[in-house]
């Protein structure tokens, strides 16, 4: 147990808890003009419908016999899918969730190297003292206000309004209201009218990240998509479908259509504009250790470019080579994201 080597090494066990912890989003239906009384809105349910699929999947070679193809077309694959819609008398979708901002950013939930832990804490403190978590807080707040978390439900909405409430002891202390479509998904520039409110929400999140007590926000977003229109809860990932004829299962919470908390969390941390190809117009990507974007099957922060989370963190902590401020933001955002980051792979 005698240390023969005094160079600091990465802890082989290093883990951080998620600091932005959203609940699932629940979907409700109502009328745009009734937004102030939205607690009485009707929950949106998921229902099954039968669809007559066409032969669109690539046929196996043995099925390319024309006679077989005809037979296959005459035997359309009957299947069921889940759908969720607004009723005919409601033109607006409400998505509501809570967001807990937990304090203690940078404090690992597990770390088996005391020296490394001390260095980590002092590095995070250095960052916090110099910059605070203001830039990150501002970006997270922007992603609440612009309703990025609505995902597909945001597309085609005529109007989107998002209300953010600060809750304490079950009561709303303050409410901020945003015209979400006026706030861009491509950058984090506040509009003049939203500037003050955005800053207030940002300050609250910043305070939560740095603080000792957690901050609780209630977020409700209203998307005017039109009466009777389809809305988009999360889709379940089911690998072994067994004998089920169902090709799409939507998520619900106790009978109310829902958006997975993971999906909301992904939208909130879509703040990384500091990756190498950011100039190519893709816009912000979610904070991930390798900048991976699942929908594109691509990772934008390749280790060979030396701007992935692990390289940046190691250089910063082990070699005292602090990255540029923007990359410091990115590293901190990964700690807020949480995860198991041990070095044992290389050991």
């Amino acid at each position: 147990m005698v240390a023969t080597d005094t160079t600091l090494k990465t802890a082989s066990v290093l883990a951080f808890e998620r600091k932005l912890d959203p609940s699932d989003g629940l979907l409700f239906a109502g009328d745009w003009s009734q937004r102030d009384s939205s607690t009485a809105w009707t929950p949106i349910t998921v229902r099954e419908k039968s669809v007559r699929g066409t032969i669109s999947n690539r046929l196996k070679t043995k099925d390319q016999d024309p006679a077989k193809l005809d037979a296959a077309i005459e035997n359309p694959n009957l299947q069921t899918v889940d759908v969720a819609m607004l009723p005919a008398d409601a033109d607006t979708l409400k998505v509501s969730f809570t967001l807990r901002v937990l304090g203690g950013t940078g404090t690992p939930s597990a770390c088996n190297n005391a020296d490394y832990r001390a260095k980590l804490l002092s590095t995070v403190k250095g960052y916090a003292d110099a910059n605070g978590f203001g830039e990150l807080g501002r970006r997270y707040a922007h992603n609440l206000a612009n309703a990025r978390f609505l995902w597909r439900n945001r597309l085609g909405a005529e109007q989107v309004e998002t209300r953010v409430q600060h809750l304490a002891k079950g009561q709303a202390i303050t409410t901020w209201t945003f015209d979400s479509l006026k706030l861009s998904l491509r950058d984090f520039d506040a509009t003049a009218e939203a500037e003050n409110d955005l800053q207030a929400v940002a300050d609250l999140i910043t305070e939560g990240l740095a603080g000792k007590t957690h901050v609780l926000l209630q977020v409700s977003s209203f998307a005017r998509v039109g009466a009777g229109q389809e809305v988009y809860p999360s889709q379940e990932l089911i690998l072994d479908k067994g004998n089920s004829k169902k090709s799409k299962t939507l998520y619900d919470v106790q009978g109310v259509a829902g958006i997975h908390s993971q999906k909301l969390g992904n939208a909130l941390r879509t703040i990384d504009t500091w990756y190498p190809d950011a100039g190519e117009g893709l816009g912000p990507i979610a904070v991930e250790p390798y900048g991976s974007v699942t929908s594109q099957g691509r990772a934008y922060r390749q280790p060979k470019q030396k701007v992935d989370f692990y390289t940046l963190l190691d250089r910063w902590l082990l070699k005292d080579h602090a990255p540029d401020l923007e990359q410091q933001h990115y590293v901190m955002a990964n700690l807020i994201r949480g995860g198991v980051f041990g070095d044992a792979e290389k050991a």
Partner: protein, 349 residues
């Protein structure tokens, strides 16, 4: 506050009602799924006490759980259940990451703690403030890997306020103590509490061994974990030409019983701190272990007579911590013994 005022020595009961947990781990052990392992709850208790700190004037000794809602993220069609999964970010080369199957469930539970309070909390207002502080601390914690969430809007008169009441601790106050406990219990209906039924495992093993001396605890456990139906021949009625009939009868189960993991047994010696690479810290003795299982039962809380029968405690011999190789959660519940009365005869026409 004087130092004496700060020593937890007054018995009390803390209730945190209707805690909603999102995405808790539903795979409770390598052989069971469903409600999270009770070790996750005792673990929460320890973590909570540490967060509150030594100066908080409250010590937690046991934790009971009443489940109001349980929403497993599984497929419900077909004979077996499969888990709804989550997709991981793509790998550095853009390919899909291997899917690690994790089971998840949302819970709505009431947590009941057996606690000791410092003298400073003799007053109602002080106790209420402490209870709220504990509830607030819990709100930022993880339970069985899931996130504690604000309660969804429930029935209008559903109390979600934490309760912290002193327990009449004198031996002469047994009746009052039980009355208080049962009064609180009925507030946690509808719901079911998890209690231990170690006795069932022993009884069933003895029954199996009467037929087969080689039967093991594993056989008894499996037998208790499933429905067993067997053919019974019913003799024909006397003076009739009817043939004997066969009926398949499912063995009765004594209530809603379930196989549960209850702790861990040592697989290795206790390794000195810092000697095992990849350990979570370098200052705690380390041991390889495996899960051990027993039986549990979900019972209506109004059937539970006293706090000891509800709460689970962690068991380990503090005198000989390294020789002791079993790390177990225990609960004192025992099923009521029947009282013979004359009516026994009456109902047996």
């Amino acid at each position: 506050m004087s130092s004496e005022d700060n020593v937890p020595e007054h018995r009390a009961l803390l209730v945190l009602p209707h805690i909603r947990v999102q995405n808790a781990n539903a795979i409770s052990s390598p052989m069971t799924w469903g409600f999270p392992a009770i070790t996750a709850f005792t673990g929460l208790m320890t973590a909570l006490e540490r967060r509150l700190g030594r100066d908080a004037g409250i010590a937690l000794y046991g934790i009971g759980v009443v489940c109001h809602r349980f929403d497993a993220q599984v497929t419900t069609s077909g004979y077996t259940r499969t888990f709804h999964l989550t997709r991981n970010p793509v790998l550095v080369d853009g390919s899909s990451a291997a899917i690690v199957e994790e089971g998840r469930a949302h819970l709505d539970v009431t947590l009941v703690f057996d606690v000791q309070l410092a003298g400073a909390y003799r007053g109602d207002a002080e106790r209420l403030a402490l209870a709220e502080r504990v509830a607030d601390e819990l709100a930022g914690m993880r339970l069985a890997g899931g996130s504690v969430m604000p309660t969804l809007v429930g029935p209008t008169h559903w109390s979600t306020r934490p309760v912290l009441e002193l327990v009449p601790d004198d031996d002469s106050q047994l009746e009052e103590r039980r009355k208080q406990f049962r009064g609180l219990m009925r507030r946690w209906l509808p719901g079911f509490a998890l209690v231990s039924r170690d006795d069932l495992l022993q009884t069933r093993l003895a029954e199996l061994r009467a037929d087969d001396p080689k039967a093991s605890a594993l056989d008894a456990w499996l037998d208790l974990s499933r429905w067993n139906a067997r053919a019974v021949e019913r003799p024909a009625k006397q003076d009739s030409d009817q043939m004997p009939t066969v009926e398949w009868v499912t063995d009765p189960r004594p209530g809603w019983i379930v196989p549960i993991p209850v702790g861990f047994a040592a697989l290795s010696d206790l390794h000195p701190p810092g000697t095992i690479r990849g350990a979570r810290d370098a200052s705690t003795p380390f041991r390889f272990v495996e899960t051990v299982w027993s039986m549990g039962q979900w019972i209506s809380p109004h059937r539970i007579k006293c706090l000891e029968d509800l709460v689970w405690v962690t068991d380990h011999d503090p005198e000989h911590p390294s020789e002791h190789t079993l790390y177990r959660c225990r609960n004192a519940y025992r099923p009521p013994a029947p009282v013979p009365t004359d009516l026994t005869h009456d109902i047996q026409h």
